[in-house]
């Protein structure tokens, strides 16, 4: 389908509209109140971990229980988002509804899996925070399908980056690491599907958030334009000339630190 027809059918507002400005303004506040909100609602152990300087290795968290509670917080957010979306009429019947039904189920499966795993490690699973998916009135995801899709894409792409960033912190426990990777690739499948449902590619080109995404969701895509992997400038080793920087950046998904993820998620935590 033509991307512009698709966007029109989803009633995506042009940049200059009031709705858009409102949303953008809301996101501009992200750095201020988002962080504050999340600091108030994440468990103490996580908040303490946030104080650590993120290193290439740790990406912010070092204790497996903290990593899993961080993951659980994200899964709560996604599960609740899809539960509310699927229980109102915002998602069109048919294909779209079927897609979000299974995504919803997976996010709940992840919540149900993580809680006993955290307990088995002697940790205390975080309670589900209270979410506000309007982000203080900036969004109407449960009455505007285009906004629902945009937030879904942002959450899934964030989820992929979040798990990736924590993988190294689970290396001491092979089973935990493997399970985290198994969730990670499910989030990637979700992200691909939601992106394609929005009429864009399933993979991320450069640091582009993609057509129709609010400018304020850019934080989700910062750094995705990285061309250096393991000290190698990938441009120097690719043997097919027609592959440019777009193809290279699409080939590698980049991580986010726990701090960066909580800043994004914090916008939706009351």
């Amino acid at each position: 389908m033509n991307i512009y027809q698709l966007l029109k059918s989803y009633n995506v507002k042009p940049e200059s509209s009031d709705t858009y400005v409102t949303r953008r303004d809301a996101f501009a506040k992200l750095a201020n109140f988002g962080k504050k909100a999340v600091m108030a609602s994440v468990p103490l152990s996580l908040a303490a971990a946030k104080g650590n300087k993120a290193t290439a290795k740790s990406m912010g968290l070092s204790n497996p229980v903290d990593v899993l509670n961080f993951a659980l917080t994200l899964e709560y957010l996604e599960a609740q988002f899809y539960r509310e979306g699927c229980s109102c009429n915002v998602i069109p019947e048919g294909r779209d509804r079927a897609i979000f039904n299974i995504i919803e189920r997976h996010e709940f499966d992840h919540v149900k899996l993580l809680i006993p795993v955290i307990e088995s490690l002697g940790g205390e699973p975080v309670k589900q925070p209270e979410f506000d998916f309007t982000a203080g009135g900036a969004f109407r995801p449960f009455s505007d399908y285009a906004q629902f899709l945009a937030l879904s894409q942002a959450f899934e792409d964030t989820g992929v980056r979040a798990y990736k960033g924590q993988a190294a912190n689970l290396m001491s426990n092979g089973d935990l690491l493997t399970a985290a990777l198994q969730i990670h690739s499910v989030e990637a499948r979700h992200a691909s599907e939601v992106r394609r449902l929005r009429g864009i590619k399933g993979w991320i080109t450069g640091d582009e958030r993609g057509e129709g995404m609010p400018a304020a969701t850019q934080a989700v895509y910062e750094g995705e334009d990285n061309l250096m992997q393991g000290g190698v400038d990938v441009r120097d080793v690719v043997t097919l000339d027609s592959i440019g920087t777009d193809g290279i950046t699409e080939s590698f998904d980049e991580p986010l630190t726990s701090d960066e993820v909580l800043t994004i998620a914090g916008l939706f935590i009351v």
């Binding site: 290439a56 990777l181 691909s192 599907e193 080939s251």
Partner: protein
């Protein structure tokens, strides 16, 4: 006779060390000017007459141990995927849509990037260029091509998911993570254009009741890939990591 054999051995060695030569090539024109680059770039078929090629192929490809072995294992799969999509894009199946062609071309590009990156990262330790057998795939048939693609992408995801725990270096684990989610994005897209079931992109055939994707050990993956790979691959040291 002996001299001839030695020459061919040298050629094979040069071929095996192609990664280093290729890598050097990118270092600048100086190296290229010495002519070192040539041997490493030729496909195996061009270097050897048929019987010699057989002999070369009969030599077991060693994945080696440790993180090198894990990366070489990944390189086997990336070579396989890249070779497959190069064929698909060169000879698109009949009735391919514009959207599907773009997906195939993107996937080809991504797998080439993965392949070339891993080869460069491994340097002299990289496995040689493998030879593949895609005779079971009908490249003129959409169904055949997309089903093969689905198999390869799902297998790639399961392979990286299972291999993460074998890596010792957190930096390499991160890089593997950067690649596996792209394979997951591919798998979902292929399933989405191939299968009628709208939930197939993360369907119950591939995601378990805990919401987990598959994770396979190298033995399982290489067995599944074996029908497509002519070379014999020795992954014993890698498989030993799990025991």
């Amino acid at each position: 006779m002996l001299k001839k054999t030695k020459e061919r051995d040298a050629k094979l060695a040069a071929h095996r060390n192609g990664s280093r030569r290729s890598f050097l090539k990118y270092g600048g024109a100086t190296v290229a000017a010495t002519g070192l680059v040539l041997a490493g770039c030729d496909p195996l078929e061009d270097l050897f007459p048929e019987d010699e090629r057989e002999a070369a192929l009969s030599r077991v490809v060693e994945l080696l141990r440790g993180d090198t072995g894990v990366l070489n294992y990944a390189l086997v799969l990336e070579q396989l995927e890249a070779a497959f999509y190069i064929e698909v894009v060169d000879n698109p199946y009949s009735g391919i849509s514009e959207e599907e062609f773009i997906i195939m071309r993107d996937l080809r590009d991504h797998e080439i990037v993965h392949r070339d990156f891993l080869k460069a990262a491994l340097g002299q330790s990289a496995i040689p260029t493998l030879t593949f057998d895609f005779s079971s795939i009908d490249f003129t048939s959409r169904d055949s091509v997309l089903n093969a693609s689905k198999t390869f992408e799902d297998l790639g995801v399961a392979a990286y998911n299972g291999a993460g725990r074998l890596l010792k270096s957190p930096d390499l684990l991160l890089i593997a993570g950067k690649i596996v989610s792209v394979e997951g994005r591919h798998a979902a897209a292929i399933r989405s254009i191939l299968d009628e079931d709208p939930q197939s992109f993360a369907g119950d055939d591939i995601i378990d009741a805990n919401g987990l994707d598959r994770a396979f050990d190298p033995e399982t993956v290489l067995k599944a890939a074996a029908p497509f790979i002519i070379n014999e691959i020795n992954a014993n040291e890698l498989i030993g990591l799990l025991k």
